[in-house]
């Protein structure tokens, strides 16, 4: 028999194993220009951002070094007499933000769940657009609304809370006499509570956007699994959506908190400034760091400005921690790997 196929000579084992080619691309001339340009823009942005932070820190250091730790315990603000601290303003900021988040949180969770789970499909995109619009409404508009419309209604709520829950320490109001029908409503106006309600309107959409994003990523298989096991809609939400979206809910809440802490104009419009430690959120008067800056920057001397920067830096530190914790929660959660918050 003839050999039908010829086997070619195979290379012996002594030939070296093929080496992987070096595949690192050397950028050509135009790409080098591109890289330099893009890198420059990155460096420029970095420089601007770091400059802002560093400048605030350096300027603030002057004021901080003169007062030391008493900066955090003093509640008065008289930098020219060397007596100033953020105890009261920071407390006011936190109280306003706490009221805002306490009001906004149930609303944003409810709205987010309503949009993703309950609303008919034709309504969904409209609702999403409206919530986004709510986030875009300028804060001065919310401030006007709060000052001229909401205040009148919230005063009634304040009075009611004070009447029935006045025994709770933070619902106490000095000078208010709930038993007297003739008592003036002015003890309830311009309070941290009202400012908090207005800020809640700004915080709600921010929280809602993140939560909606997370709830819409709930795997369809798990949802349908719950339904197939005979769960009602709320049962499904309770055992599937809420646990799945927990990280996003915490993250969204904190993002809103960060925004609430930094809000200036709405608070400035509503609250009447005072500089003492005051836990009574229903009582007239309060303060926040950002409204303190807006009030005092123009009359401040060099040292006064440095003191204001120290206050601003403290606020920035707080919002920074809050925001990073928020993004950490979102990124760590099962649902947050691809969401943008």
């Amino acid at each position: 028999m003839d050999v039908l196929t010829t086997i070619p000579e195979r290379p012996g084992p002594e030939i070296a194993a093929p080496e992987p080619r070096d595949i690192t691309a050397r950028p050509i001339g135009s790409d080098r220009v591109f890289h330099t340009g893009a890198g420059l823009s990155g460096v420029l942005v970095l420089a601007i951002m770091v400059a802002v932070g560093l400048f605030l820190a350096i300027e603030a250091a002057q004021a901080l070094s003169s007062t030391g730790l008493s900066f955090f315990t003093t509640s008065d603000w008289q930098p020219d007499r060397g007596e100033f601290g953020i105890a009261s303003v920071l407390l006011g900021t936190v109280l306003i933000a706490a009221v805002a988040v306490a009001i906004a949180l149930p609303m944003s969770i409810g709205t987010a769940l309503f949009i993703t789970e309950v609303a008919p499909v034709w309504l969904r995109s409209t609702l999403v657009a409206l919530v986004d619009l709510m986030a875009a409404v300028p804060s001065v508009v919310y401030g006007l609304w709060g000052l001229f419309l909401l205040q009148g209604h919230v005063v009634g709520v304040s009075r009611w809370l004070n009447t029935w829950f006045g025994w709770l320490p933070f619902f106490e109001v000095a000078g208010a006499d709930p038993t007297s029908p003739l008592s003036s409503a002015s003890v309830y106006t311009a309070s941290a509570f009202i400012a908090g309600v207005v800020v809640a309107m700004m915080v709600m959409p921010i929280q809602c956007v993140v939560m909606r994003e997370v709830f819409s990523q709930v795997p369809a298989g798990e949802r349908e699994g719950a339904f197939a096991l005979g769960s009602t809609r709320w049962g499904m939400i309770r055992v599937v959506s809420l646990p799945f979206g927990r990280g996003g809910m915490i993250g969204g809440t904190m993002l809103g908190l960060g925004r609430a802490l930094g809000e200036t104009i709405a608070v400035l419009l509503i609250i009447s400034p005072r500089f003492d430690i005051n836990f009574h959120i229903l009582e007239a008067g309060g303060n926040s760091v950002s409204s303190l800056i807006a009030l005092r920057y123009s009359e401040a001397s060099g040292f006064g400005l440095s003191a204001l920067m120290a206050a601003g830096l403290a606020l920035f530190a707080v919002t920074l921690v809050v925001n990073f914790t928020a993004s950490w929660f979102v990124a760590r959660s099962r649902s947050g790997a691809s969401s943008e918050a």
Binding site: P27, F34, S41, F114, D132, A136, S139, V141, T232, T319
Partner: protein
Amino acid sequence: MTILDNPRSEAPLSSGSPAQQAPLTTLPPRPGPMSAPPVRRPLGKLSRRELLPLAGAAISALATTMLLFGRLTPLDGKFGFVVVAFLVFLATYTVLVSLTEGRPAVVDRLMTALLAAAAVTAIGALFSVIVFVFIKGWKALTKPNFYVNDLSVTGPQEPLTSGGILHAIVGTLIMTMIALVITVPLGVACSVFLNESKGRAAMLVRTVVTAMTALPSILAGLFIFATWILILGQERSGLAAAIAMSIMMLPIIIRSADVVLRLVPGNLREAAAALGAPQWRTVWHVVLPTARSGLTTSVILGVARGVGETAPVLLTAGYTATMNLNPLKDPMVSLPLAAYELVRSPQETLIARGFGTAAVLMVLVLVLFTLARIVGGRPAGRLSKGQARRATAKSAADLARFEARQMEVGR
């Protein structure tokens, strides 16, 4: 399946030979064509059984609350009325549903009602804000002079027929333009950098930018006030305000543009690379055009945020009642700042002007927002009708060009 099940195809077979008459399988009697096809239960709509308790509870809650407020108790207040009515509604609804349903269903209905109430409250608040601002500003808004004059010669006592806010409109436009010129190239370039170079530097920049989104907007103003105005000795001007706005807008734009660019499909990039395009051509001709609508949206939303910010402008622009077209010199006022300053005065007319200004600002934000919705909302790479038409025309032109070339070569 269908052939086996068809009784008509079986009939001639069985009658053919008697040996096959003992049937091996018995087919169950099938429903004839007369029986109606199964009716689909509508899942999307509320059924009668769901609707009736809802309506009943609503009517009963309204009636009970009116009785409570009007006759039985000395309660008053619109807010209280709504809250009491809602609570009565929830109680009645629970009782009504529990007449026919089990506990899980009752809880489900109750929670659904609560979720809907949350959404209605939120949307209601939004509409209340918009409507209230327009109603309070209506008197100013309906005077044509409101849009063509400034307030330089208008005293605080003068009626609404004199003076307007043109200076604030122009100021906002100028400041926004300057801020756009600064932020758009820098922001887009930076987000390209974040996406195209995957290194430690990009990570650092991304972290710092993320951190700066937490910067309270008033600190951006304070920074410019301390450096530009106090240290460099410049005066308060539109430019200073625009720079403060840019510092505030830049992180917002970079972050959302970064997300948009990350959504560009990797295979498009790889296709460009496989065709031999250098990286800058890939970015310029593939990545950026693909993400154009998303990038535009992120810029517009950043602008909408920046336009509405009062705090940085308050510290850097100063307040003026006169028109100022020069951003380098003299105070310049923006819409939110004008609204803020105007409503702080005790004069009724000035407050109306302030609300009118806020309404104009609202309209501006609404327009920007609608624009963002129209431009964006399309995922990366999906073309709009016009874009698709243009792309088709271009590729038809290319085809004609190739064919003409072919003919030339053939000859």
